[in-house]
Symmetry: C2
Subunit: 413 residues, 2 copies
């Protein structure tokens, strides 16, 4: 069978041909309910429920959904997505949906249905808060990034994993163009809220800013430290009160650890910066700012804990080999590495904030602010923060310093 | 045919079965002269001359020649060597020997015979100096490292090249162990000149030093910036008055640009530091120190020149794409990148110096100093320099600063 795009009318009969899926759903296909919910930029997603259970079926389209057929995109991304889902499940099984079936030809991935979950981005915009969230995200980051890195993984195995993802070039290219390049010049698909023209013009000729962004691109291109999710914004996080799941790792590749960390932090910080527009007159929600700090601190603590727990006798060529039995060296190495990840995270966060306001792919946090003038005010503050994260990185020794800056920006309205 | 080790008795008849090689040599095999000259640590090398011409035939052994059959090493390194020879010939054809034939099963590479050339290490130890050398080496470094990097090479092509070399793990592992790990603890195969025990003991507990060495290892493991030679010491350089050729790229892989640069500089600096032992009573040869500086400056100038000459319209996702048409940004990017390469080069040079004195694989520069006490004096100075290159890197803004430090060390005898 060759690739055929599924739709709400055809997906049930297709899934019925897969015994494990048919059994999971139960009953006959004409009793199943199908709902297409793909609100992302790239794919179609069907939620299918039967008498016994439900599944989520995600199919890649041969083009970028956000733009249309004029922007082709290879179906191979579905292959990399299920590869990443399997790798992530090895290290953080509780934080990713169970993979039930995949079909490389159909570019189709069938996963457990996250029945009670909603996307974090939408929930945050409505003021929902999740006390377990920061801990769960820290767990996902620390577990997937530490155990796929040179520190924990034998060198030969790690190189094989790097190789396994090196072909995901089309997805990486999207990030290279949209995050690091296009927001900083007058790229055709850029768009922004009226009133920000002066910032756009200033950024285009800001050599330190563009140099810093290109420096982050250089890291993105040539720092295969660990297996990244690659698109870890709040739209890739599904939440309930009790659970957190990370979805959509089709941008996965081996890259700098700070990229996943920084993108996630940036999206939490944007959720904060959008609040004055979403709920005028109400004060900034300190809990969300605290959660960003808790996320970073939780990640750092857990990452360090994994490092300390490595078997002392391991001698497979990993970075930690030399530190075995030498606590001083190990602690110095942990501190140095975490500082470097933080530096990277700040720079990547700066790029992420700027590109979500000036580039092609915006975020609902700001887009749902109906009052254009108010939206421009919020976005201007965010752009200033993004600029500082790239150009004045040393001013942010920790997540608390970023929180302070966000409060200062918002108070200055 | 399966792999069979060749020897002086069998190599001629084997080469006679390869028409292009037989024709190049001319006459009949019984008229050919064969000389085995493999003075390296890993392989056998036959120089074969006939009536018409000559060839060099290099065969990998399934173990490390320096240690013996107890240390197996895969024959695949011959495959990577000819891959690298071909890649290097694309960018620096005048600086590598012509590849005439290869046989992956026999792990055999047949190259042009460098009839009048000798190894740079031996020549330097005898006081020979080559006015064109620094320029030639700068050319090789700048041309191979720039054009295989993210700056010049389209991203998709570069990722394919990274993948092509990712399997050369056994050779990389030798470097990982022998350069970054073993010199800094009491590894079984370490050896050193009597009298250096205090330095060995101090280095083993020197946390900043070992942390810096592990930092360089992290760069070596996860910074695929460009195609490296991977073993660019003065024994991999063949010279005449007029020509310079770089041989033996079997350690080739995509790694940090500063590694090739730093290893080469370190070996030139060691040649200087060994002089008081090799030629007692004679003053330090300033020409050689100058050549190291000329090499770095020539590399930097040529690297920058290549960057400036890139086509402005190129839009293949490389790092330079954004800099097109913006001279300020481009110049800032060039300066920043060269500073980063210099920092890396210093750190790698520090590791190289230390491992050549305290690790397994030493260099003739020091080993040929018969007076053990004098050798220890020279090596102690070199170790101090190596330590400073790793731990006090900021003290060396340029190659002249390193030259000054070497002169200071030597004057302090």
């Amino acid at each position: 069978m060759s690739y055929t795009p599924l739709d709400e009318g055809s997906v049930a009969s297709f899934l019925a041909t897969i015994p494990t899926i048919a059994k999971r759903l139960g009953g006959s296909p004409d009793q199943w309910t199908v709902r297409e919910v793909g609100d992302g930029n790239l794919n179609v997603v069907f939620l299918v429920t039967g008498q016994e259970g439900g599944v989520a079926a995600k199919q890649a389209l041969p083009y970028v959904r956000l733009v249309g057929e004029s922007w082709p995109l290879p179906l191979s991304r579905a292959y990399y997505e299920r590869l990443a889902l399997a790798d992530q499940a090895r290290w953080a099984p509780d934080r990713v949906p169970a993979l039930l079936h995949h079909d490389d030809v159909m570019a189709l991935t069938v996963m457990e249905l996250l029945r009670s979950h909603r996307t974090l981005r939408g929930a945050l915009a409505e003021g929902e808060r999740y006390p377990l969230l920061a801990g769960h995200l820290a767990e996902f980051l620390a577990d997937t990034l530490f155990f796929t890195s040179d520190i924990a993984m034998p060198v030969v195995e790690k190189k094989a994993r790097i190789a396994a993802y090196l072909g995901n070039t089309a997805m990486c290219r999207i990030s290279e163009d949209l995050i690091f390049d296009e927001p900083f010049f007058d790229a055709p698909m850029n768009h922004h809220t009226p009133g920000l023209e002066d910032v756009v013009a200033a950024f285009c000729v800001d050599v330190p800013l563009r140099l810093a962004a290109q420096g982050m691109k250089a890291r993105f291109l040539a720092a295969p430290e660990a297996l990244l999710h690659g698109d870890l914004h709040t739209g890739s996080v599904m939440v309930t009160e009790a659970d957190t799941k990370i979805i959509d790792p089709e941008f996965a590749f081996y890259g700098p650890i700070g990229f996943d960390v920084g993108m996630l932090l940036a999206n939490l910080w944007m959720a904060c910066l959008a609040q004055p527009g979403q709920r005028p007159g109400r004060s900034m929600d300190g809990l969300l700012l605290d959660q960003a700090a808790t996320l970073w601190n939780g990640f750092a603590t857990r990452f360090a804990g994994h490092w300390r727990a490595l078997e002392r006798d391991a001698d497979h060529g990993s970075l930690h080999a030399l530190g075995r039995g030498d606590a001083d060296l190990r602690e110095a190495a942990i501190a140095e590495r975490l500082a470097a990840i933080w530096q990277d995270a700040l720079g990547f966060a700066g790029c992420e904030v700027i590109r979500r306001i000036l580039g092609l792919a915006h975020v609902a946090d700001f887009e749902t602010i109906v009052d254009e003038a108010m939206r421009a005010v919020c976005e201007r503050r965010a752009l200033h923060l993004g600029w500082a994260l790239l150009v004045e990185r040393d001013a942010f020794p920790d997540a608390a310093a970023v929180a302070q800056a966000i409060l200062r920006e918002s108070a200055g309205a």
